[in-house]
Symmetry: D4
Subunit: 250 residues, 8 copies
């Protein structure tokens, strides 16, 4: 760990106190005019800083990607708009993009990890697909195996029941649902692994852009259900991958 190394170097007399104080933050943050890239994120959290493209100009996104690449780190970006996607495709032709998931993924690091475990993603409806896909891509990018079961909402309860074995074989189950958000409560009662519920903004009227589904999930009568933000497929995939990697580390 850099901090301990630094202290050791000071201890050895190879580094002055003043110099140590100045050096400390340098490797940890890449300064741009519009961003302070967290270059230590991978060391601390196991994965480089991820770029939320929404609310940034395409040039700002490009700049952060270049900064990460310059430090040998992979770059993952989410909520990439159509125009940002076009800009990035030109700037980084080798990177891969998923337009359903709205993600950008560019690998720089040379050592590839073998994916581990299984994140099983389930959607209540067809309209929940983009959010689920964002979770799927995220989980895979972060080193977990991930698969998806689509459109098995509770109005036809047999649709989810026939996947009971598949669900029980997973390390963690993500349940993506809008409207009434009822599916995670059913799934949470069928399995013994952690369940992450992802409310989506699918629905109309009193769905209130996903608030109804969010509240349903927070109040799930199944105890083993944790929740992420509305439409936060990325977060769900990220948390799930953290779990799976813990479960399968040597």
């Amino acid at each position: 760990m850099p901090f301990t190394d630094l202290l050791q170097a000071v201890r050895d007399g190879t580094l002055s106190v003043e110099e140590a104080a100045r050096q400390l933050p340098d490797p940890a943050a890449g300064d741009l005019a519009y961003a302070t890239v967290d270059l230590q994120r991978q060391a601390r959290c196991g994965f480089p800083e991820v770029v939320l493209a929404e609310g940034k100009t395409a040039e700002w996104v490009e700049g952060v990607v270049r900064k990460l690449a310059a430090h040998g780190q992979d770059c993952f970006a989410t909520r990439v708009s159509d125009s940002q996607a076009a800009h990035l495709a030109t700037a980084f032709p080798a990177a891969s993009q998923d337009r359903l998931a709205r993600t950008f993924w560019m690998t720089v690091a040379t050592d590839r990890v073998t994916p581990v475990g299984m994140v099983q993603i389930v959607t209540a409806g067809t309209g929940d697909l983009p959010v689920a896909q964002e979770a799927l891509v995220t989980a895979r990018v972060m080193g977990a195996n991930a698969e998806m079961i689509v459109d098995v909402g509770v109005a036809g309860i047999h649709r989810i029941l026939r996947h009971r074995d598949t669900l029980n074989a997973a390390d963690v189950v993500l349940v993506v649902a809008g409207m009434d958000g009822a599916l995670p409560s059913v799934v949470g009662g069928l399995v013994d692994c952690p369940v992450i519920a992802v409310p989506t903004s699918i629905g109309y009227g009193a769905a209130f852009g996903g608030v109804a589904a969010l509240l349903t999930m927070l109040n799930s009568c199944s105890a083993g259900v944790a929740v992420v933000n509305i439409d936060a497929g990325f977060k769900a995939g990220y948390v799930a991958a953290r779990m799976v990697r813990r479960m399968h580390r040597a």
Copy 2:
């Protein structure tokens, strides 16, 4: 219909115009200092005016009951508090009260209707019982058969599935649930009769006193689900009885 009779009487010259204008409202409203009892409710809607005891003094409730009785009408009161119940028990010892449902029921009319059909009431949890009981008593008082299945929430999905036949035999199903309010969506997909969902204020935190369950139910992915107010067991029983009586009228 009184109005037509009145016109006819005027037509026949047995009633002056002025007198007609004055008589018109008389039989329809019983005036008290604190209430205008709707004496025509039974004729228009098939059941006498029901008293919401909450927010009234015990004396006011007593007065309305006496006014209805004086006009030969039965009286049903809901949300009767403990102190109101004690007052009414003294005033009307022959009336029946259900303290779980918090209801008061006094019959005056001599012709008893034979109960018809079947209102099947289902609760997600044990805490939903008081609201469900209010629905049960209401439906029965209004002339419908009614039964209850308790504590079959979706966290143990087999609990509701084993009652599938009973549900399908009902004319209408009331589903009473707090917390995530997910049960009506499952039930709505199992039956072909109307489903009335009743959100309850059971739950904590982001349950927001029943708002979470209410929103879930309004956004049910099962199309055949209508909703009533939070904790409105009375309304659910009332609507259900209206349906059942329509279905079974000669």
Copy 3:
């Protein structure tokens, strides 16, 4: 019922246990890459699965329609956008579409049911017409007779009062209203059949996109009023048709 048949076949030795476990769900769900069509919905709920077009690509909607048709089931879709409508018109020229109601309806099954009963739909204003029309088309598609009275809001109370006889002749009354949502409370006090209130997003300012009307209806001082989601003409028509078909089954 398939499940009992399956058990019987296993009992008879004509079906192995493993095969039975595998076959169970098959006829019940049509798997597509983006949807799991509920092919048992008609058997369970009396009507095939209905497609909510909103939030889906036109191709996804088309695919689900084809899947239903391939299994000999009729297909009803709601909230069809202009561009989806154009796509579907090309793909299924024989199907009927209603652009005011934004619905799509394609019949495949050969046995037509004779419409029964009467769903009377009432709107408070002219702006509520699209939602009311969605309810009207839905009720008719599901086998109920349905008619509409337009723009009889409570600001001119005589407008609804003169339709009293028509209302009382109905099996169920749907009241569609935005803004103050006051009409269902008046109608609920005029009739003895069930009333379904449909709040609409018509209004401005503190109408909050239909929330004001929704709350009014949930708190209706008329007991016989149940409620559906904001702008949920489809749900109202669906619930109403379920009621009417129960009332008029042989």
Copy 4:
């Protein structure tokens, strides 16, 4: 007007500039350690400052009453709790209190105004009585005639219709309603005078302490309806009296 007189006195040389600057505010505000009594309110607005007792100690209320009386002004207080009422009854035995309205009223000024006009107050239910009574007392204290019609909610629409003539004879109509708050929309369409709607906190569940009724009234389909705060009987009576006094001033 004092300000003009002051300028004139300065102009006449009977008052120095410094003295004028110092005197200006003096007669307008009575300073207490815990209150700055607005002694000019009667001159500006036609009625002395009114004391909102809620949130004040009984001693503070007493102090303000004494300050007003010391300047020859009448004192009206609202939302007086039981314990405050007992304290004030001892301190000011000659004052009159109305426990249903929770008001305190002490006259000091010797010239009594003859009440004018007619404020007609209407309640939807019996539970709305305390708020309506507060409006009634306020209007009368401020010099208007006022009467009340109780419990004529829209679930029995004939109850309000039979009072049509009384309503049309009023100068202004106050409509007090909780739950669905629908009554003002009907009344607003029956009369040609101003209507003030007063939402009450009567109701349960999604009534949200009067919010549902408030929203209904703000969105009234009857154009001639203005609204005051939830349970604000005082404000409604105050605004109504202002109107009536304008209408009937010589």
Copy 5:
């Protein structure tokens, strides 16, 4: 009144009972396929039905205007969009439109009323002008004199104070304000006539589209303030004109 006449005719034998029942509603409602025009509104409320153009097709608006005109009634429409305005300008070239207020006004009746009294309209900011202009046009169309003082918000308190005399000369004051909505509280303490507060959607962030201003006004520390819906310039002008006409009727 028609009802009494009808009764008299029946009494005289000049009208059969059946015929009376049928005739009753006829003159009161003009039926269109998409609207039930309230032709009695002028008789009951003193002004013809006003058309809310928002949420209607231009053809529907045109149809209602023609129906009113055919019965000799003037027509006033509000919230007229640009495209509706263009359509109406072609259809009714003689009508007058105000594009700042977004109103349409066509006179048919031949007897013009002389405007009476004075509605003084005050805005807190420049951005509140369109709503204030809608109130101004409405008040004038309904027969009241009306004037406006613009942009005198409380951040520069002297701006409103210098208009004190003008305010006190008015019969009713309308205060139009967005953002903090504080101006009505100040104005309410300066005058002794009724004050109607109109919240506008001007502001950003926690202004929540006018909710902040609405709440401020409902909680005004000045008792003489009633409130209308957000951006409801029309309602404010309508209520004000009702007041003024009452104050100045012979």
Copy 6:
């Protein structure tokens, strides 16, 4: 698995079809008049059904405990009020209760599991202790090791930083915080294991009973943070234990 065994028995002819249909649900649900105890929960989810004591009478809680015990299952109850605790202490003197956590825990099963892994619980303030203790007890009861670090909120950022090593040694970190709910965002950026955030109702004013903290956590700028309901210490402990048991199963 019972279902497969059942099918096999039917296949073998040792069980009739009718008998199979009847037996299926029996072992899965313990029927009481007021509850349907889910006796299969342990088999499906790895832990018996947990009793939410809130909203139940003490007798109902006692009954469910007895039913579970009669089937050889342990019983865990949460949100036990003081009076319920006293009742249960008499009924089940051998059970253990934690009054800070408000939990009840009675073991019946004879085979004790050895606790595994480490759930590290962190609180932002002292007032968050009861919720954190509920999480701690829950995690331990479910077979996980658990420890707590108290009162290390971000206003003194060094307090959490000095526990960095402890945090990184955990399998999962629960962060319990009220008021601004900011701590999980900091912790999420320090570790590479999953973080579960638990908002509490500690705070006042715009804390809105935990809503502020809940929203903060849902919007955490640290991607690895999932959330549970306000004050849901039980849920957090339950989800964490599920994770830990997955990570450490043989």
Copy 7:
């Protein structure tokens, strides 16, 4: 002060009372048809009235600028849209505009103040830049020195910690953050100067357009944090400049 001068003139007989009453407001307000420009703002508050361009036509903004300039006052406008910016660039080519901050700044007064103190602005993310820039420009225009540190959110806590000395050297720190809004709580615990928190609408789902960040900041566990409206960079810069100028006045 003008008021005292006026009194003196009246006292001296050089000014009549009537004339004094008329003159009083004149120099204080510049009347336009659509605006009442507060010409005394600079005298009272130390800075001329600032124009909120949002919700105004470009012509109205131009008119107010001209009015201020005609009275020798500088003009600052915020929330200038692209089309307004183009219009103003033509009308006032010498003025400076910042399109990231969306500000307009035109100096007329000849005496320039030397900037004082230091307002340190900090953003949590890159997307918060436009709001921060608005604060920066505002603070500078009002005579304070201002600098910015970008993208140092709490997910990488070392990023803000390495700026500790810079923060402590400031007179006031503005912290601009969206999403979880957690940064001000950390900064507030690191410094002993006032901290102003600015929530931004950056985020999605349950960020609710900045409400989540706003609530976080209002509930900050660091006591030294005050808050302004969502996206209110202008207000933050304005308040900060007021503070700094107080701290550094001679």
Copy 8:
């Protein structure tokens, strides 16, 4: 600064790296079973950690006070309930308590600072006094002079105007108001120093426990107004004292 000293000691070889890592946090946090007292708060922020008594047992509050005292630091506690106050009065008889402000204050440090500057506190009503008093005590405890003007709300605008000179003489003005929260907007336009607005929960109905006043203040049309949480007199006093001490430091 300790950190630099530590590095120096390591550099000098007088401290091992391991020991340095362990020692770092020690002096900064006082560990109790239920609290981690921030002993560096005074050094970092200029004032010791303040105890929010609400939500803590009296014993916990006592323990934290003893810990602070043991380290020679003064202790200030807020929101002290009656029972906590009694407990603390026994435990620390020398400490001073203010029951209107609900504060506890015990001095241990021997060097008293001379109060500087002037914090002027203003309340809109009498009911706002407790919150204002909390601000007053806090400001004084933290070394600022502070005074109060009570009950000068905008309904009698002259009440605040006559204090204009006092307001302008202050370094910072705190405006405490409930109900409509309008006073800060007026004050903000009268002075050129910073204004901190404090919403209170005084009011009823749509005041929503202070939300109305909070929104008013966040949307103040006066730019120089920052806001703190509802009823947060402590925070307002704390921020104000920070400002004043900056303004008056040598």
